[in-house]
Amino acid sequence: MGISIEGVSKKFGDFVALDEVSIEVPDGALTALLGPSGSGKSTLLRVIAGLEQPDGGRVVISDRDTTDVSVQDRGVGFVFQHYAAFKHMTVLDNIAFGLTIRKRPKQEIEKRVQELVRLVHLEGFTDRYPSQLSGGQRQRMALARALAVEPKVLLLDEPFGALDANVRKELRVWLRRLHDEVHVTTIFVTHDQEEAMDVAEQIVVMNEGRIEQTGAPRDLYDHPKTEFVMGFVGPVNRRGALFIRPHDLEILAAPALEAEEAMIERMVHLGFEARVELLLPDGEQLWAQMTLAEAELMELRDGQIVYVRPRRAKVFEPNGEPSTQELAAA
């Protein structure tokens, strides 16, 4: 059950968009495809939907090889970044579209559409046209439209990419709850690691048409297998061969074992947390993350000389397993 992608490749001219990609998405799970633009994540989603034909490999949805099945018969719901709302139709007609195409009885359509309208909280907006809705409302309408045909798989392509920061956060929470309610196998594409970690149960990190790592959000953050994952999933400092998370960088007022001298270039107050931007004598820059309370307790200020050392750091050996060094704990 679920979706399995087996060795899928896709080229656009000379550009390799997907290079023998294989993933397993468990039935009913919410999975994020995370990666920078051009990493192949959207192409993979479109291949699963049948909007692109792969050059090689197989797409299996619910134990059925759908590689050669048309988009129409694949039973997928697809949500586009820019909503793809049918502009000449009301919200009601947009949501009903898939059912109307399937020539379902009028009463059944009406009942189902009303259910969906409640599910996406668009009561009172059903007679409006998409141009009379906000971005968030349009995207909820698009979701309801995709869910109307009871797809086996729901695919979302950067669904919140065109929305304001506030609305994004709100819709993330809402999508999470919606998924708990409908339980349809869902894959969504994003380039925002925070969004992926917030919403998904499983994250697939992609880069240059290949899969870097697959795992639970926590797993990727704590045990990245490659430099790329370390840098893409969560913030990171690089000091020689060491990769250090900003919250793993310890700031001391006095010299200590293995601690380096540094000057505070700038203190940035971000509400609960503070960001300390540091300049080392060799000209390299690092930054540390701590709670504002900690920073105030130490009376950190711009221009101050402090001593820094990593509590924990990661080293990626070429062609080897990454190793974690617990430094300050020793």
């Binding site: 939907a49 049918f86 000449h88 579209f97 195409i101 399937r102």
Partner: protein, 268 residues
């Protein structure tokens, strides 16, 4: 607002109106004046002779056939150009604009060469009982040729603008190609199509050069309204010529008003 800016704006407005008046409004106004010079009765009598009525009937019939054909071809061709990739697309794109570039008289001559008794197709067609030249099919062909680019050129930018995401969304919701075209694409491009149809209609109603050559200009048979006007004018039957011109002008103004209505609706 400073007085000088107001003055320059008024000046510009005056210039624009004056220019349009000299070139467009006064000549067309003159037609109105001259048509009714001998009273409305004379004008009415001139345009209701059997020959005049037949000429109008023929003009409207040809325009209706040619515009229908160009609408179907135009929408199909625009979809081909915008939504698909194929070899020779640039060639097709350039070919669509050919009727804009070539004089209608040349178009008429080229059809004459092709469908005449000595032409490539003409001999065979005539032997099999198809009369193209000096009859309705030839006149329709000529009119299709000259009014071909309008629908394509209006629809192509609209198709570009709406993008293909709505169509893809319809596919994922189970709609096949035909359902997607009728329910999604056509409603989205409808004002572009309407605009193109209006322009093509105006062009088809007024076509003279190409039709003059292929029709043979037989009064009461293959004489369209513009040809009728030209003959009446040549025979110094001025009231008739002006009155028929007036009817043609009214038809054209009607289509222009329709076009403006579409534009407003599109902007809304």
């Amino acid at each position: 607002m400073p007085a000088s800016r107001t003055a320059s704006r008024l000046g510009l407005r005056f210039f624009a109106l004056g220019y349009l008046s000299m070139l467009l409004l006064i000549p067309v106004g003159m037609i109105f004046y001259r048509a009714f010079e001998h009273g409305a009765g004379a004008a009415w009598d001139a345009v209701t002779t059997p020959e005049a009525l037949h000429a109008f009937y023929l003009t409207i019939l040809i325009a209706a056939i040619a515009v229908s054909a160009n609408t179907i071809f135009g929408v199909g061709c625009a979809l081909l150009v915008v939504r698909t990739k194929f070899r020779g697309k640039a060639l097709l794109n350039a070919a669509i604009d050919l009727p804009f570039a070539i004089s209608p008289v040349v178009i008429g001559l080229s059809l004459y060469l092709l469908y005449g008794r000595e032409g490539w197709f003409g001999g065979w067609l005539l032997d099999n009982g198809f009369q193209i030249l000096f009859s309705l099919p030839g006149m329709v062909l000529a009119t299709i040729f000259v009014s071909l680019p309008f629908v394509v050129r209006e629809v192509v930018p609209v198709l570009h603008e709406i993008g293909d995401e709505q169509e893809q969304a319809a596919h994922t919701l189970g709609a096949n190609w035909w359902q997607t075209f009728w329910r999604i694409t056509l409603p989205a491009i409808r004002w572009g199509v309407a605009y193109g149809v209006v322009l093509a209609t105006a062009r088809a109603l007024g076509e003279f050069g190409a039709v003059a050559i292929v029709s043979g200009r037989v009064t009461g048979e293959t004489e369209t309204a513009p040809l009728w006007v030209w003959r009446e004018f040549g025979q110094f039957n001025l009231t008739g010529a002006y009155s028929a011109s007036l009817v043609l002008a009214m038809l054209a103004i009607g289509t222009l008003l329709a076009m403006n209505a579409f534009r407003r609706k599109e902007a809304a």
